[in-house]
């Protein structure tokens, strides 16, 4: 653990709003360049094993002590995943997952564009921990060039023991699910595999595979440098550290920010300049996330524990009071239905039916939501991946939070302006 902490913090700039915000991952504000030499002068060298036999156990223990959770959506403990990769019989593979299939999320892309070497450092450390023979970096096409350049620089400088390979991600919502990423890299099929065998036993090409979100790997690179105690200086005891969020909706300066986990939700919105209009609700997590009522959510801690819902991939959407949450959710429901891989009946048939009921409700043509409510409960847990569960979670939260609007819609009217679309959906996704 070398003393580059001051260097990391001193390169952070205060926000326009005043208080300094954490910029562990986004220390490079864009002006410094994203090259290897800039990276090394900002963060210092990557602390790899260099043949020390106890390094592997020490690193896993430090990650465990840090409490690092996955930042791809599922918030699974990273140390547990590192420990689980079984490289006894076959050499393992590490996949740095920057697929970012969530259409509104931009944090993984932003991170890769601004600090590609931090992500690659983390992947390199993870690869040494799980004794991998290869690292596959799966990235959104927007940042493929940056990542290719970064990999080339590292190869020439000879900083890594395990070689990198970049793959452009599939442009699908379910394409980011861990087994779908493996399937994509292996067979060019961006659809999830069944639940067994475990990827930690048999994943990419039959090799034990560690799939880790790119932001998680960047945090890992910093924990390896500065230690768990440093990492835990931000965040809460259960959810330590900082998180990259994509802020969207009725906000002054929407975009990607790094925030400490546990600050009030109002302060998270303030990092994007604050609301531009009275708000009705806040979507937390992503299109798999949950709508929350604006009160008391604004004063609650921005953490899974504080909000009672997962932070998912870090999407935060501020829904203004004049936009209809029912109509917005109906559109997302149709999108999520169209993004079903079509492999499992409850998802392939259930989601389109649910989307149809949501559209009828949004249009004021619904004769009742009994079937809708029953289907939302019935499809839960009945897919090979979490796609139906995520969609059900979002839509159920909408029925709860927008219950007054739902009642209005059932009566055939809506007080909100329903035309405006707030939540981006990839072009061509809704045919």
């Amino acid at each position: 653990m070398i003393g580059t902490l001051d260097l990391v913090l001193s390169s952070c700039s205060p926000t326009r709003q005043g208080p300094a915000h954490p910029c562990r991952l986004l220390a490079n504000d864009g002006a410094g360049g994203a090259g290897l030499s800039e990276h090394l002068s900002r963060h210092g060298p990557n602390p790899l094993s260099r043949g020390r036999p106890s390094w592997r156990e020490e690193t896993i223990r430090e990650v465990e002590r840090s409490g690092l959770l996955g930042h791809g959506g599922a918030a699974f403990p990273t140390a547990t995943k590192l420990q689980a990769v079984n490289s006894k019989l076959h050499r393992a593979v590490v996949i740095a997952n920057g697929t970012e299939g969530e259409p509104a999320s931009e944090k993984d892309r932003t991170l890769l564009a601004r600090a590609p070497h931090l992500v690659l450092d983390g992947a390199s450390i993870a690869a040494e921990v799980v004794r991998a023979s290869e690292i596959v970096v799966v990235v959104h096409r927007d940042v493929r060039t940056v990542v290719d350049a970064a990999i080339g620089e590292r190869r020439r400088a000879g900083v890594d023991r395990v070689p990198f390979r970049a793959v452009t991600a599939a442009d699908r919502f379910v394409g980011g699910e861990a087994s779908a990423v493996v399937n994509w890299v292996d067979r060019a099929l961006p659809v999830p595999l069944g639940k067994s065998p475990r990827m930690s036993e048999r994943g990419l090409g039959g090799q034990p595979t560690l799939v880790q979100n790119v932001e998680t790997l960047a945090h890992l690179a910093l924990i390896a440098r500065h230690g768990a105690t440093w990492y835990r200086r931000l965040g809460t005891s259960e959810e330590p550290g900082s998180i990259l969020v994509t802020l969207l909706g009725a906000l002054e300066q929407p975009g990607v920010r790094e925030v400490e986990i546990g600050i009030p939700v109002a302060d998270v919105l303030a990092r994007a300049g604050g609301p531009t209009a009275p708000l009705r609700a806040i979507l937390v997590g992503g299109y798999f996330g949950s709508w929350l009522p604006v009160f008391p959510t604004l004063s609650l801690p921005f953490s899974a524990r504080g909000l009672g819902v997962g932070l998912g991939a870090g999407l935060v959407v501020a829904l203004p009071a004049d936009v209809c949450g029912v109509a917005q959710t109906a559109r997302l429901a149709r999108y999520l239905a169209s993004e079903s891989a079509g492999q499992c009946g409850p998802c392939a048939f259930g989601l389109p039916a649910i989307a149809g009921e949501m559209e009828k409700l949004a249009d004021g043509r619904s004769m009742g939501i009994e079937n809708l409510k029953r289907w939302l409960v019935e499809i839960e847990g009945r897919g090979a991946c979490g796609h139906p569960d995520g969609a059900a979670r979002l839509i159920s939260s909408a029925l709860r939070v927008f219950s007054a609007e739902v009642a209005q819609h059932l009566g055939g009217w809506c007080t909100a302006e329903i035309e405006r679309t707030l939540l981006p959906i990839p072009r061509g996704a809704l045919r």
């Binding site: 069944g194 009946g345 409850p346 048939f349 039916a353 019935e378 847990g381 009945r382 090979a384």
Partner: protein, 77 residues
């Protein structure tokens, strides 16, 4: 405890033929599209033989029985 098992399903393999629900309506019902909804948890002793038959009869071989340890809660469906 002996013979503690639960029914597991490969959702990708399942085609919604519905034989399982016909054989074992006590534990398996069908949703509005004909896909099985399997009750979570341990199979009652008196239905175990039938559950074995259901696994055999599935034309897609999508079902299997999984042993449940004494602290198993059958949380997956």
């Amino acid at each position: 405890m002996r013979n503690r098992a639960r029914i597991r399903i490969d959702r990708i393999a399942c085609d919604g033929r519905g034989f399982c629900a016909e054989f074992l309506p006590e534990l398996i019902t069908l949703d509005d599209w004909g896909f099985p909804i399997i009750s979570a948890g341990v199979i009652p002793e008196n239905l175990l033989a039938l559950a074995h038959d259901v696994v055999e009869v599935c034309p897609k071989a999508a079902l299997w029985l999984e042993a449940v340890s004494s602290d198993g809660d059958g949380r997956d469906r």
